[in-house]
Amino acid sequence: MIQKKICMVGSFGVGKTSLVARYVKSIFSDKYFTTLGVKIDKKSLSVEGEEVNLMLWDLAGEDALTQIKPMQLRGASGYILVSDGCRVSTLDAAIDLQSRVEAELGSLPFTCVVNKVDLRDNWEVDDAALDRLRTLGWSFLLTSAKSGVGVEALFQSLAERMVREKKIDAR
């Protein structure tokens, strides 16, 4: 059995916890955030016929006062950058966050997520902003924790990339 640690990072209120909650049934309550600044969930999925356990470290959102603790990133095999389509600032924050996480963990598979696609009409994030992501060479997904759009694909694709990368390493 393969286990992988994935960190969910992003600004406060972009919907990281909702994405995880959409994906797995949690055993720990949300109050862990206020005390520990992190909540951990598990999802088993299958990649190329092999069982993979994703340990999802849902880190408390960044705001003016809280910053991600490098200690909590340690040991991750991949991460998910979450931003909120309704606030373009969260996308900028995600781009900034990516460089900090890469400095900490090195180059790892990650997926950028622009969340709340169900509210597309109210989005501040326009096509130009999405083009910017493309020019950065990032893989990104538009998701909705509310409707569930893109959620399964998000975790499945990241898991596949992590496993594949591992196999390339092994070669």
């Binding site: 059995m1 286990q3 640690k5 720990f28 992190v38 598990k42 470290w57 200690m71 909590q72 340690r74």
Partner: protein, 532 residues
């Protein structure tokens, strides 16, 4: 000639061509040739080569170390040797470099050792005098094992419920074993959360970022964490684990590092390589049955009950004895001729002091009737004379009795007739008997008077027997004639067997020719009273 010219022209031509070729060559590949020469020089010159290498060596090492671990292995002996040389040459340099961290390291080690010492001291004091610990000591001595080892196997006051082996960097679970299933299902989640909690505690409360969380207590469970550089062993323990358990965990963590070090360093989420650690974890699942935790207080209760019963029995005996004593003392108080002045009750004995008329009843006789143990009673009586009417009569009776028993009627040689000279004595005897009779009647006593006839030591024996009997009979008859009831009198002749002055060799023989009296007072069965 033309041949020669021709030949000359030829050679001139060739030289020219050669020259032209050279020029052409210089034009076409001149710079490359110089470059090749320069390269040649650089390859031949070790100094230049080193310069070249220095530009790329750092990067090369970085690239290689990412690929595999051969470089580390290759460098290891070099670094060790270098360190050895450095220390040999100038120990001060390395000391200076280590100085900032060595204090912290020593402090931590000392603190750890002290904590361990306190823990074991605590335990030693705790176990110190218990019966069980001595049994363990005996077993350790018998089997040649250490006391700690024996204690660990016998300590049933704890049980390791679960052990988690956690990869330290990722917080991912490498192995998990539980004594019973079902307490925690999501071991991998717990493992991750535990890592997060540790980070949190270290960030929030740890003064040093290197301090580790070692113990957590949750209700009846303790969570013991044993940290290694690469793995964390977390054990859920119920009850009171002995400090020796910590050493077991330390040992297993060290063994896991030794056996799985490279695999741990290269860990990328595939925990199948660590299935062999189950043996290590199995060795950590120590301890006895939880049921033994609830200590049996049966013995204590039994002893307490027995003690209570004993105390109750003692109290009951004491109360009964006190009641008997009170009755006895009351009886003494009501007895004429006895005055109780004081009585005391001690733990094991009773004491009474007072005054007692010698004529009064013997307290010991009363004591026998009271059922009290005689030796537990101390009595002290001062003699006195009671003015009780009963004792007045008794005293008079005693006086009269003594007076009568002093009376002697003398007879002449070989005669049984009372001489005239003794008639007045007989009269006195008669008066005394009458008086005795009255007093005895008043006190409910029966009067008996024994009359003894005596002879002197001369004469034949059978004659003397006859004579003494006759002398007693004479007095008896005389007394009966004077109105004394014959039933009151008994007569006996004792010859010369009871001389008046047995101790004296020579005295007048006639003194032995006599009649004497003995008074006997019998308890009248119809009237109660002290026996005399």
């Amino acid at each position: 000639m033309p041949l020669i010219r021709h030949g000359l022209a030829d050679s001139l031509e060739a030289a020219e061509a050669e020259e032209r070729l050279r020029q052409l060559r210089a034009l076409l590949i001149g710079p490359e040739v110089e470059q090749i020469a320069a390269l040649q020089r650089r390859l031949d010159d070790p100094r230049l080569r080193s310069e070249d290498l220095s530009a790329s060596i750092a990067e090369a090492i970085a690239i290689r170390s990412r690929q595999d671990r051969k470089l580390q292995s290759a460098l290891q002996p070099l670094i060790e040797e270098a360190l050895r040389i450095s220390v040999a040459r100038d120990p001060a340099m390395l000391a200076t470099s280590l100085f900032p961290i060595i204090g912290e390291a020593v402090r931590k080690a000392v603190a750890h050792a002290l904590q361990g010492m306190f823990d074991s001291l605590n335990l030693v004091l705790d176990r110190g005098l218990s019966f069980e610990s001595w049994r363990w000591r005996l077993e350790a001595w018998r089997t040649g094992r250490s006391f700690g080892e024996v204690a660990l196997t016998h300590s049933l006051s704890y049980r390791v419920e679960q052990v988690f082996l956690i990869h330290r960097e990722t917080g991912l679970l490498l192995g998990h074993l539980a004594f019973t299933t079902g307490i925690l299902e999501n071991a991998d989640l717990v493992s991750g959360m535990l890592t997060a909690v540790q980070d949190f505690v270290r960030d929030s409360f740890g003064r040093m970022k290197t301090e580790d969380l070692e113990v957590m207590e949750v209700g009846e469970f303790k969570l013991w964490l044993q940290h290694g550089p690469l793995v964390l062993l977390a054990a859920v323990v119920s009850g009171q684990p002995p400090p020796e358990l910590r050493q077991v965990f330390e040992r297993e963590v060290e063994a896991i590092h030794r056996d799985f070090g490279p695999a741990l360093q290269a860990f990328d989420g595939d925990s199948s390589a660590f299935e062999a650690t189950h043996a290590n974890l199995q060795r950590c699942l120590l301890g006895g049955q939880r049921a033994r935790l609830r200590r049996s207080y049966k013995a204590v209760w039994t002893v307490a009950l027995l003690l209570l019963l004993a105390v109750a029995a003692l109290a009951a005996v004491r109360i009964r004895d006190n009641r008997r004593w009170t009755r006895y003392v009351d009886r003494l108080r009501s007895e004429p001729g006895i005055v109780v002045i004081g009585e005391q009750r001690h733990w094991l004995s009773y004491a009474v002091t007072g005054l007692r008329d010698p004529l009064a009843v013997d307290p010991r006789l009363l004591l026998a009737g009271s059922k009290l143990t005689e030796r537990r009673v101390v009595e002290r009586w001062e003699p006195y004379q009671s003015l009780d009417p009963k004792f007045e009569g008794m005293r008079k009776l005693d006086l009269e009795k003594a007076a009568l028993e002093r009376q002697v009627l003398h007879f002449d040689l070989n005669l049984a007739q009372l001489p005239m000279s003794q008639f007045n004595v007989l009269e006195t005897v008669e008066d005394e008997i009458t008086s005795l009779r009255q007093i005895a009647d008043a006190n409910g006593l029966q009067l008996r008077i024994e009359i003894f006839g005596h002879t002197d030591r001369t004469g034949k024996e059978d004659r003397n027997a006859q004579l003494s009997q006759a002398r007693a009979g004479t007095i008896s008859t005389a007394l009966i004639q004077r109105g004394i009831p014959s039933s009151m009198l008994t007569v006996s002749g004792v010859s010369d067997r009871s001389p008046q002055h047995a101790a004296i060799e020579t005295y007048p023989q006639e003194l032995d020719r006599r009649v004497t009296f003995k008074v006997v007072l019998l308890q009248n069965p119809s009237s109660p009273g002290a026996p005399r």
